[in-house]
């Protein structure tokens, strides 16, 4: 009798519902902002953001732009995997942005300067990010340095480091790095026909690789002994130590994997040659922070992250379709920021749902109890007679 609304009780369902609530509220706030700026075009602008590539006239171009959205989804997915993996182990990896930079740095450098093949570039990129993660983990494990602050510091150090090293891969004029497709073709990721499928040369194996990583992370966390240990360390580091887990090793290992994932994102993105690195960049790439949004929106589930990463990329891309004579593309950033803010309340939303359920249940049992009482009173009365 207590199993009313079993669907609502399911944790996954609750996560899904709260994520949808976050998205809707985020879009409402975005719409409100647009409306305040200029009420007339606001409806069309928010639709433009939501529609993204559906704004394109032909199905071929739609497919091509869908492909491009996917190209940008892959690095975001890896960044969000990095965040959620660390979070499961109780660490807030805000250093994704820096690890991502290092992935970009090593990938481009080894591709252009050392002329290494794509897989070696990818591997070196991952190693660079993993090393940065390891540093963060070491500082946490042995010196108790707050990972959030060390992460932010490493972000800036990595950004300037990347700018410095990539001077060597800069085009002669301008401030961007060279296009790998023309200058270092061996470093560009293969596409295994995906480019033809989408009609876009930037669509590469980065996309399936990212999805495979999501599945692997899910298996690692949910099915293996290592996942069991890592999550235990995250939930209660004292208990982990008590039952003989190597808690410091687990913290460092987590940051290594997290750093590697974020760096893999950066490396994959730049090795598909979709974009160039600006060596005068003075702000940390937003990809890392969007990764945080995607991780929480996806309910901290690796498979959920696939969808949330896509959604965030979709609206960020969609930002380009607003009417620039009134609005600006950053409206999409605003929406994602609002979504993360709301994701902070996930626990609150869930408690709300559960309280509702419990109250309903209590009312139900109270009624039943009253019924039993009434029956008892009746029978007592009967006995007295």
């Amino acid at each position: 009798m207590n199993k009313k609304n079993p669907l609502l009780r399911n944790n996954g369902v609750q996560t899904f519902i709260t994520s949808i609530i976050c998205i809707i509220l985020g879009l409402i706030v975005g719409f409100a902002a647009l409306w305040i700026i200029n009420a007339d075009g606001a409806g069309q602008a928010i639709l433009g953001v939501i529609k993204n590539f559906f704004n394109k006239p032909t199905s071929a171009t739609r497919l091509q732009y869908f492909g491009q959205t996917l190209v940008k989804t892959a690095p975001l997915l890896l960044c969000s995997l990095s965040v959620l993996f660390a979070y499961k182990v109780g660490l807030f990896n805000i250093g994704v942005a820096g690890q991502y930079c290092l992935g970009v740095m090593m990938a481009i450098y080894s591709g252009y300067v050392w002329k290494l093949p794509w897989w070696a570039c990818l591997l070196l990129g991952i190693i660079a990010g993993a090393a940065s993660g390891a540093l963060c983990g070491l500082l946490k494990a042995y010196f108790n340095v707050n990972v959030v602050i060390s992460g932010i510091m490493l972000n800036w150090i990595s950004l300037y480091g990347t700018n410095l090293l990539l001077q060597a891969a800069k085009e002669k004029t301008g401030k961007d790095t060279v296009r790998l497709l023309s200058k270092a073709k061996q470093a560009v990721l293969p596409s295994l026909g995906l480019d033809k499928l989408f009609g876009d040369k930037y669509v590469t194996i980065a996309i399936p690789l990212a999805i495979i990583m999501a599945v692997l992370i899910w298996i690692l966390l949910d099915k293996t002994k290592l996942g069991f240990e890592l999550k235990a360390t995250g939930n209660n580091v004292n208990a982990a130590k008590y039952c003989g887990m190597k808690e410091n090793r687990n913290i460092i290992l987590t940051m290594v994997i997290g750093g590697g994932l974020a760096a893999m994102g950066g490396a994959l993105y730049y090795l598909s040659d979709y974009t160039q690195w600006n060596v005068n960049a003075s702000s940390v790439p937003g990809m890392g922070f969007n990764g945080i949004a995607a991780a929480f929106l996806g309910g901290l589930n690796p498979l959920g992250a696939i969808f949330s990463s896509y959604f965030i990329t979709h609206i960020t891309d969609g930002g380009a379709y607003v009417d620039l004579s009134h609005y600006c593309a950053q409206i999409a950033d605003l929406i994602s920021a609002v979504i993360i803010y709301l994701c902070g309340f996930v626990l609150f939303f869930k408690t709300l749902i559960n309280n509702r359920l419990r109250k309903a249940e209590e009312r139900f049992t109270a009624k039943e109890r009253d019924a039993v009482k009434a029956a008892e009173v009746k029978s007592e009365g009967g006995n007295q007679k």
Binding site: F92, V145, N163, S283, A293, C328, L334, V338
Partner: protein, 314 residues
């Protein structure tokens, strides 16, 4: 040399103000990771006043007060988003702080861009020019440019110290950060004290934000945020062991390293070493990491910080 001193002092002022904000908030029991965002919003408020308030040059006390108040007000308002989430709704303080940092940059960018576009349809930049208005609160003492916000920082340092350690309010605030159940048991409203802590940190963070952008140029591009200064300030606070005067010392140290990045060109021996500017840019962050490595082990952090207060818990 004077230039180095000037930059050191101005950056130290920024770090001091923001670190004091973090300190007040943490003493009440809330970790304010949104200081970076609060700085951006405070800077936005101040910059708008500088842009739109009529001003004819010379020392402008009225202008200065308006800029200061605007930065404080916006900082306080924005920090209430953190307060409501972390105190009343018991949200994760890390996520909310991070979200507020992202939101501030996005919000300021959208706002400034749409304002610029509305005034000139071809202007899509996120910059605010306030060149002349800045002169209102910069006094020249020989070659040294005294930014009035340096004085504000010193005054606020003393005020925060007295407030925390000499008043009834400070005693109660610190009790909430150390042992909220104890505070509640003697009739102190933990929620109210924590709200006060967070709003005060918003006020200080807002002033820190406007100080930061007036440190250098006569224009500010809001897409750039404040380059991790909010987090540097948190590191300063940790290094300063949550104590106002020690924080001031730490702020001077970090200010010096940050200033080196701006003025190393003026020193011949530094210039002759031919170190790329990126290295100087990295310097404060590297120093911060090293300092944290050696100071984090014996943390003097308030015991209950970061833990949402729940009436039911005893």
């Amino acid at each position: 040399m004077i230039l180095l001193l000037q930059y050191t002092l101005i950056f130290a002022s920024v770090l001091l103000l923001v670190a004091l904000g973090g300190c007040v908030s943490e003493h009440s029991g809330v970790i304010n990771l949104g200081l970076e965002g609060i700085m951006v919003m405070g800077a936005l408020g101040g910059a708008l006043v500088m842009k739109f308030l009529p001003y004819d040059g010379g020392a402008g006390f009225g202008m200065f007060i308006c800029v200061l108040l605007a930065a404080m007000l916006i900082g306080v308002l924005y920090s209430s988003l953190l307060a409501v989430a972390c105190i009343n709704l018991k949200a994760d303080q890390t996520i909310v702080g991070t979200a507020l940092n992202m939101l501030a940059t996005a919000l300021a960018t959208v706002f400034v861009k749409s304002m610029n576009t509305a005034m000139n349809p071809n202007d899509h930049s996120s910059e605010i020019f306030y060149g002349k208005a800045k002169e209102a609160f910069v006094s020249k003492l020989g070659n040294f440019e005294l930014n009035w916000f340096m004085i504000v920082a010193v005054i606020l340092l003393v005020i925060v110290y007295v407030m925390l350690y000499k008043t009834k309010f400070g005693l109660r605030l610190r009790a909430c950060g150390e042992h909220p159940q104890a505070a509640a048991s003697v009739g102190i409203s933990v929620f109210k004290m924590r709200w006060a802590g967070v709003l005060l940190s918003g006020l200080l963070g807002g002033v820190g934000g406007i100080t930061y952008i007036t440190a250098g140029a006569s224009t500010w591009k809001f897409e750039n945020g404040v380059a991790g200064f909010g987090f540097l300030a948190l590191a300063v606070m940790i290094f300063g062991a949550w104590h106002p005067f020690k924080i001031a010392g730490a702020a001077l140290l970090f200010g010096l390293f940050r200033a080196l990045g701006n003025v190393y060109g003026a020193f011949d021996f530094l210039k002759s070493m031919n170190i790329p500017s990126a290295i100087y840019n990295m310097l404060p962050y590297i120093v911060c990491l090293i300092v944290l490595t050696f100071t984090s082990k014996n943390s003097k952090a308030p015991k209950a910080e970061g833990i949402p207060y729940d009436k039911g818990m005893r």
